[in-house]
Amino acid sequence: MFEIVNVLLSAFCVGSGLLVVLLHHPARAAGALALCTLSTGALLVLHGFPSLGGSVAFVMVMSALFLLFVQLTLNVGETPDRRRLSFRGTLSAMSATFFGVALVGSWLPMLNLDFTTSSPEIHRQMPSMSWQKVLFAQFHIEVALLGAMALITVLVTFLLIRRRP
């Protein structure tokens, strides 16, 4: 039963993720992303991470719905022009480099550098801690940065979408 549900959820997750790329209208793509996020959350719940699955699904669905809201506000479709590659080439090269370095760094033990600031004592306790405790024990700098980024994002958003007279 677990295997069947796992395969179905994985297929639905990958299929809706491909639909995000294949659908030309951004509003439909945002809907596909919301479905993909929900199925990913369900997949995580199925694998025994109920709180993480719920949190990730909630946060990412909020993200997809925000983009859907922006799309519905602007009401434009996919642009038909296919001439240039510079901007998206740069962006995709940056993304590929980032994810490639992350993957290689996590899979090769010799490159697995520890940039975290937690003490060895916390590292020893880590396998028995919940992910919420690890989040605040090891990733405290990231959590602080996230708070700062949230404040900056709210400020930038307010400045950007403020309607000028």
Partner: protein, 96 residues
């Protein structure tokens, strides 16, 4: 059991990167970036064998994705009001 998370994560990551390559609308690019980040979160949980570090990283990634979407969406609104288009190929003012 956990390794079954790696395949959908990898597929989502690849499809997100494919969307970054193929799409031109700024909102579609943001949606593809969201897909790639979702795949990266799944990969982190899967490759850490369900350990708490991977789960915490996945949660951080989800939060960062939300913030990127908010900032990018606001930027899209501002660009559309100014240029009347969301085609990223037409945004060339910062090109050296």
């Amino acid at each position: 059991m956990i390794s079954t998370l790696i395949f959908p994560g990898l597929m989502l990551l690849l499809s997100g990167i494919l969307g970054l390559l193929l799409r031109r609308s700024m909102i579609s690019v943001l949606l593809s970036l969201n897909t790639a980040m979702l795949g990266a979160a799944l990969l982190l949980v899967g490759s850490s064998a369900g350990g708490p570090q991977g789960q915490a990283s996945a949660f951080v990634i989800a939060c960062v994705t939300l913030l990127v979407s908010i900032a990018g969406g606001a930027m899209s609104v501002a660009v559309y009001r100014r240029k009347g288009s969301l085609n990223i190929d037409e945004q060339r003012e910062l090109r050296g």
